[in-house]
């Protein structure tokens, strides 16, 4: 026993070093496996409030481009209204949107996260999809009262079910960790005829994202003759480095489905 105490005394620095590193590694692994215990993240009070302050200052510098964007969006919405009046059956999307502003984001790391300025109080729940006007942004991972942290599409664990618009073949979109402008598409059989520039949209299978949301265009086809599946790269239409205003989707069908099931059980 005395020897042990002497040993600890002699090597206390090394032991502390190893303990701290093991603790850090434990945090990394726990955070990776998507368990909730991540209590120190960017939705907590101090960090989120400082992000909000930074974002407020930064937004002054981008007022001009934001205005231009809003004008463009207005025009697009107007055209959609006129389109709807002509054809009342087509619904643009079956989701209800909660607008939000991005107050912090990263694109340069292997696992990127986004923080937005809406939280539980605004009706945001874990697992909701986040989209912008030009594409898919990510999925809500954690919420606090006023803020939410979003697992960006630029994350090694993000996977989105997508469809080639012209022939309805579906595959899955996953980021390869290289450039924030591009991602890979898997599971599209190699017999499917594809061309550069084909549009890719969401499938809406999971009710997370509304169907028919544009994601990107095919930018590279590297399929060999022997391959079973296409080796595809696509480029995002949305500039994920610059995006500022997003919508969180509240899927309506999901509620409708739950309501229907409730009625059934009441009978």
């Amino acid at each position: 026993m005395r020897n042990l105490i002497e040993l600890i005394n002699k090597y206390n620095h090394q032991i502390l070093f190893i303990l701290l590193e093991v603790f850090a590694f434990f945090l990394i692994i726990q955070n990776n496996s998507f368990q909730k215990a991540a209590f120190i993240n960017s939705t907590n009070g101090v960090t989120a409030t400082s992000f909000l302050a930074i974002s407020n200052v930064k937004s002054y510098f981008s007022l001009k481009s934001t205005n231009e964007l809003l004008l463009m969006e207005n025009a697009k919405l107007k055209s959609l209204i006129s389109y709807q009046q002509k054809d009342s059956i087509s619904s643009i999307s079956a989701s209800h949107f909660i607008p939000a502003t991005i107050i912090n984001k990263s694109v340069a790391r292997a696992n990127n996260y986004i923080t937005i300025d809406k939280g539980k109080i605004d009706g945001i729940k874990k697992g909701m999809g986040v989209v912008s006007n030009n594409g898919v942004i990510g999925i809500v991972k954690e919420t606090s009262k006023h803020f939410s942290s979003v697992l960006s599409i630029l994350h090694s664990k993000s996977k989105v079910s997508v469809v080639i618009k012209k022939n309805n073949h579906f595959g899955s979109l996953q980021w390869d960790g290289k450039s924030y402008k591009k991602a890979k598409i898997y599971d599209i059989p190699s017999h499917v005829d594809l061309q550069l520039g084909d549009t890719i949209i969401t499938s809406g299978f999971s009710y997370i994202f509304p169907s028919n949301t544009i994601v990107g265009v095919i930018s590279d086809i590297k399929t060999k003759e022997a391959d079973k599946f296409h080796n595809l790269k696509m480029s995002f239409i949305e500039d994920l480095k610059e995006v500022k205003y997003v919508n969180v989707c509240q899927p309506l069908q999901k509620e409708e489905k739950e309501l229907l099931e409730e009625q059934l059980s009441n009978e």
Partner: protein, 173 residues
């Protein structure tokens, strides 16, 4: 609190804010994200007596960075590693320090010269960046990690060496 402690607390606030407010928003060429908050760890003295306290300070710095970056544990791991390796690396670069009996060794560019500063800074920066990027991205290919480490490491090293010039000017006053 002593003057030195207050100075280190100010350093901590200044470099963490610099990192969070400015440098975390820089993605030069999509790869380069310099981590200048390391300067705070560089400015801490090397002290045999307080070595455990210094490790705990590095741990705290890492936790704070992780809270801002949503990267639980990554910066903590890298910071503690850098703090642990700081004194063995400096002692191996300048062996005569071992004979000195003084308790605190504060690194300064005046005393140790430009060449040593560059080697010392870049070795520690590359250790930090490699730990950071390697753990962050072990599912991706190695070439990508090396590219990120080298690109960001060079930029961080240059920035830290520039900061050290400023630091000397302050201590001369």
């Amino acid at each position: 609190m002593s003057k030195v402690t207050i100075r280190h607390i100010i350093n901590f606030i200044v470099f963490i804010s610099l990192q969070v407010l400015i440098f975390n928003n820089i993605f030069f060429m999509g790869y380069i994200n310099p981590y200048v908050y390391l300067m705070f760890l560089f400015l801490l003295p090397i002290s045999k007596k307080n070595q455990n306290l210094l490790l705990l300070i590095a741990f705290l710095t890492g936790i704070v960075m992780d809270a801002f970056q949503n990267s639980m544990g990554l910066h903590t791991f890298a910071c503690v590693l850098v703090m642990y390796l700081k004194s063995p690396i400096l002692l191996s670069l300048i062996p005569q320090l071992k004979n000195k009996t003084q308790n605190n060794i504060v690194f300064s560019i005046n005393e140790f010269g430009l060449a040593t500063t560059i080697i010392y800074t870049s070795i520690l920066v590359f250790i930090h960046h490699f730990a950071l990027f390697f753990i962050e991205a072990f599912q991706f290919d190695l070439g990508n990690i090396l590219l990120r480490t080298i690109a960001s490491g060079i930029v961080t090293s240059i920035l830290l060496i520039i900061f050290q010039f400023f630091n000397t000017r302050n201590s001369l006053k």
